[in-house]
């Protein structure tokens, strides 16, 4: 073996070990700094997409736009009526809470973000979004869409942030299984009962990102397929009540000591494009 090969081999090994042994905080900073080299390319890609979308918009026929506009007006009017109703419920809830001296629930403040990149490795479930420290983001903020919970912020740089998605081993979510029943008759109402509490651990399949495992359910759990899974608010990261998905099936594990359920996520993780970050 030539001497140059020996030297190159030694240098690369030493460098690899040195980089891998960096303290976690330094490694994260270093990682974010290297990742920022890609910012011009991300910017270029985003502008190209915007130009393509704008070009596409110009060729949409006026008739289709008018129809869409009318539909959106209708939806908007319906949502306004619903919002009024919700506000009334909120006020009532707050009043009752203050009467019972319960802790006040603060309303959610959310901020829209675009997904700019996904993890290039197949064994992690992560995305990067175009919000960072300058937008007020910090680690552990919940990320969601209108369909349900997506994950939490795990790393933040000045202009972008990494979001670890549900199903990744680094995103455990305290969850509850809720049974919703709608009673019929004159006093029709929706009743929700918490069936059990558990923790969303990892995805069940490498290929299917939409199914995750809900572990640590009690062995006598009454969890049934079709029941909703929502965040329980335990653990302090995710507020209570965000929809996660629906139970597919259950099975006993560890010789029947506890039960595990497979959950179909409400959000299609492979089609993530726009998300909402819940701001503090």
């Amino acid at each position: 073996m030539k001497r140059a090969h020996y030297i190159a081999f030694a240098v690369v090994i030493v460098l690899t070990v040195a980089v891998m042994k960096l303290p976690p905080r330094v490694a994260t900073q270093f990682k974010l700094a290297i990742g920022s080299l890609f910012l011009p390319l991300f910017g270029l890609s985003s502008s190209t997409q915007q130009i393509a979308v704008k070009t596409g918009d110009t060729v949409v026929p006026r008739k289709a736009l008018l129809a869409q506009n009318e539909q959106l007006h209708r939806e908007n009017a319906e949502l306004k009526v619903q919002l009024q109703r919700q506000s009334e419920f909120e006020r009532e809830n707050e009043r009752l809470r203050s009467m019972l001296s319960f802790q006040r629930i603060f309303p959610w403040k959310i901020r829209a973000a675009h997904v700019i990149a996904r993890d290039p490795a197949n064994w992690w479930r992560n995305v990067q979004i175009d919000l960072g420290k300058r937008d007020g983001l910090r680690v552990d903020l919940p990320v969601l869409t209108s369909e349900g919970l997506v994950g939490r912020v795990s790393e933040v740089s000045e202009t972008r942030a990494r979001v670890v998605l549900i199903g990744d081993a680094n995103c455990r979510v305290a969850a509850m299984v809720v049974d919703t029943q709608i009673t019929s008759g004159r006093n029709a109402r929706t009743e929700t009962n918490t069936v059990d509490h558990g923790v969303i651990t990892t995805g069940t399949s490498v290929l299917d990102e939409s199914v995750v495992e809900l572990g640590f359910l009690s062995k006598a759990s009454q969890v049934k397929p079709g029941q909703e899974v929502r965040t329980s608010g335990l653990g302090g990261i995710f507020p209570r009540g965000i929809l996660i998905g629906q139970v597919i099936d259950t099975r006993p594990v560890e010789f029947g000591l506890y039960t595990v359920a497979r959950v179909k996520l409400a959000m299609k993780m492979n089609l993530l494009d726009e998300v909402w970050v819940m701001m503090p």
Partner: protein, 183 residues
Amino acid sequence: MSALNTIFILVLAFVAVFMEASFGTFRRFLGVQVDLLPGLMIYASLSSGTLTISTLAVLGGLWFDSLSANPLGVSILPLFLIGFVVQRCRHLILREQTYAQFIMGFSASGFAPLLTLMILFSCGAEPIVGLGFAWQWFVMTVIGGLLVPLYFRLFGKVYRTLGYERVVESSFRADREIARGRG
């Protein structure tokens, strides 16, 4: 040409890592993201020196890990080992032959993720690996194999475009010209 070759390889590695992170067509349809770096390392090891291989392994690995949730530095060693071994044996490889290029790319694209996963598990990380990984691994190796001949063609075209054109020698020699006429 050597420095230019290294620069081209590094630029392509940078763009390749960016594309892996931002274009999800393969992931959407096949459930796999193809790794473009092992194939590029095969091209580098068959066409360049140790310095290019080491630089590509270090920079390519760091770029990849910076956009991934991998611990920083995990991807350097698999890339470097591929380049190092191939370069040591390159006198035995028919590097101009497409099938040899395919086999090298196929093997490298299969070896890199396995070694990366081994390092990740030994570091205590919890990557998502299951039965579906066999499918991902198969797609990665096949596409990784197909990419190497493409890299050779791409770089060949670039050098033909940027390099000096080879002078074609004419069979005409002025000193051997037979002068006809009465003079």
